[in-house]
């Protein structure tokens, strides 16, 4: 097993309210680590601490052997930590293709950034079409991203993350509000990309979680209350009491 990211003892308080308390997690290559728990448990805050959008009060994040807990978000992203948001964050005013071009120019095609018209850069265009094909977005490539269906927007956001060639993918409820069919597409997509990345998956759809996850951690009131293989989590009485029992 290859540990890409090892976060230990992360904590965050807001004016006395403890949002995340002594949060530790290991993300391994080609593994999907699901993070579940009731609303307000601190899952999104935990992701924010990993991306740097939220500064941790304490704790350390080791990423490929170096401590990144002081790095700003943009540097962590450059280093290979990609993030899809709970509220889908794409460039609504751009076409799907232009969204992909931006994502590709962030890392894979940095040399394409210049005075040239990106429409005339064949390498860039080909790579974009390839990714759009992979994420089943070819048909809507010229549509405005803001006009896409919820499922297509979610796929576009993850396609953009993948375009930056990340080592870590932090997915905050990628399937929320999606139709059954879009959810199925997402599950097969995540399975198809997982080989080269370590994925942290925050998700409420338990069926999807049990289909995808190699490991599950359960959060409640800012703390991880249980962590283990899906089978053992499913049977854990503490987890059933805190979360699964409500479903």
């Amino acid at each position: 097993m290859t540990v890409f990211l090892d976060a230990v003892h992360l904590s965050k308080q807001y004016a006395g309210l403890i949002a995340v308390d002594d949060f530790s997690i290991k993300l391994e290559k080609a593994k999907i680590h699901a993070l579940i728990g009731p609303n307000g448990a601190g899952k999104s805050t935990a992701i924010g601490l990993l991306t740097g959008e939220i500064r941790a009060d304490s704790g350390e994040i080791d990423y490929l052997g170096s401590d990144i807990s002081r790095l700003p978000t943009v540097r962590r992203a450059q280093a290979g930590i990609a993030h899809s948001y709970q509220i889908t964050s794409i460039i609504n005013e751009f076409s799907v293709l232009d969204n992909m071009l931006i994502a590709l120019m962030a890392h894979a095609h940095e040399d394409a950034v210049g005075l040239k018209n990106p429409a005339k850069n064949k390498l860039l265009q080909d790579h974009a079409s390839e990714l759009l094909e992979q994420f089943r977005l070819s048909d809507v490539a010229s549509r405005l991203a803001g006009e896409l269906s919820h499922g297509e927007q979610g796929r576009l956001e993850i396609a953009m993350c993948v375009a930056t060639r990340p080592k870590i993918l932090l997915l905050d409820e990628p399937m929320s509000g999606m139709s059954l069919m879009d959810g199925e597409k997402m599950i097969s997509l995540l399975n198809s990309i997982k080989d080269s990345v370590a994925i942290l998956l925050v998700e409420h759809d338990m069926e999807a979680v049990f289909k995808l996850a190699d490991k599950i951690s359960v959060m409640a009131s800012g703390k991880i209350i249980a962590s283990g293989m899906p089978q053992s989590i499913r049977r854990d009485p503490v987890v059933i009491e805190a979360y699964l029992g409500h479903h």
């Binding site: 991306t51 959008e53 978000t73 943009v74 540097r75 992203a77 450059q78 280093a79 990609a82 993030h83 948001y85 964050s89 794409i90 460039i91 609504n92 005013e93 751009f94 232009d98 071009l101 931006i102 994502a103 120019m105 962030a106 890392h107 394409a112 950034v113 210049g114 005075l115 040239k116 018209n117 990106p118 850069n121 953009m160 993350c161 930056t164």
Partner: protein, 324 residues
């Protein structure tokens, strides 16, 4: 090949009209108007440059007069010393060669733009408006505090600059030079907006969070467009100093920054060509109305309100049917 859609037709017709204007005016004996249209071209240049920041980067600069005025002052001061033979700041001789005064004016404005950009681009929204306004007013007070260059009275020039092969003192020739500057700057602006750099700058306007999460820090790209914008305004300032043969502190004043904003809004934010139509409308209205009434400001205000309410996308979008 340029396709003949509506917006290209509008641009081509406008361009031909501008090319044909001097001989037409001369033939009807109204050559006086050439200077007014030259002024419109110069303001259009500022409009295009300001629209780059507002329309492409989504940042409203309320200090663009600083670059316009600085360009005028650099050109004016160099020309002033070129005529009186004294050294500029006791360091180097002045000149009235346009191939020196104009590029130097542009370079100084780019450096000023770099400085203002580095400070102001750390903010956005209302704070960006306020900080560009504040920095521009600092430039204004700095310049009027130099008595050698006229202080609040401004600085008169002894004729226009010299340009090999062209007589800039001839209004028609000067007009064509200004038109050429506008066309070149517009071409550069269009190239920039259609480039991958332009795409990133626009992405930052719509969703900075996503850009940062992808690992792109928009600051340096925004700074680049800000400096390019300052260059355009600076060139316009140098042309203005030549047109009026006088450099006024009014060129630096925030009143003028506001006027530039009105030009961009009237023409259509994000359309680039709108900069020209905005300048045409505003200066045209001023020219026409001020010959009828002393209270023309009021009338202009009413017309502007009506125009903004009826055509939110600006004049360029109205005539071309193109959304920006």
């Amino acid at each position: 090949m340029i396709s003949l859609n509506r917006s290209n037709c509008v641009i081509i017709v406008t361009f031909i009209a501008l090319l044909a204007l001097p001989p037409v005016l001369a033939s009807i004996g109204e050559s006086y108007y050439i200077s007014i249209v030259t002024k419109i071209l110069i303001y259009a240049l500022v409009g295009v440059s300001l629209d780059l920041i507002i329309g492409q980067a989504g940042l409203v600069s309320f200090g663009h007069a600083a670059f316009f005025g600085m360009g005028a002052y650099v050109c004016g001061v160099l020309s002033h010393h070129g005529s009186n033979g004294l050294l500029v700041f006791y360091l180097f001789p002045g000149t009235s060669n346009a191939l020196l005064t104009w590029p130097i004016a542009v370079i100084v404005c780019m450096l000023l733009g770099l400085l203002v950009g580095i400070i102001s681009l750390r903010t956005a929204g209302v704070y960006f408006i306020m900080i560009t306004l504040a920095l521009a007013q600092m430039v204004y007070f700095l310049i009027i505090s130099i008595p050698q260059y006229g202080g609040e009275d401004g600085l008169g020039l002894y004729g226009r600059n010299e340009l090999a092969g062209v007589d800039l003192n001839d209004d028609t020739q000067f007009y064509y030079v200004c038109l050429l500057c506008l066309v070149f700057y517009l071409a550069g602006s269009i190239k920039l907006t259609r480039s991958s750099l332009g795409l990133i700058i626009k992405a930052a306007k719509f969703n900075q969070q996503r850009l940062v999460a992808l690992g792109i820090s928009p600051f340096k790209y925004q700074l680049l467009i800000f400096v390019f914008s300052a260059a355009g305004a600076g060139l316009a300032g140098a042309l203005m100093a030549n047109l009026t043969q006088y450099v006024s502190p009014d060129y630096l004043h925030w009143n003028l920054s506001g006027k530039f904003l009105i030009i961009v809004i009237l023409g259509g934010i994000g359309s680039l060509f709108g900069g020209f139509y905005g300048a045409l409308i505003l200066l045209g209205l001023e020219e026409v109305l001020s010959s009828y009434t002393d209270h023309w400001h009021f009338v202009v205000g009413v017309i502007l309100i009506i125009m903004v309410l009826t055509s939110r996308q600006g004049f360029y979008a109205s005539i071309t049917g193109k959304k920006t």
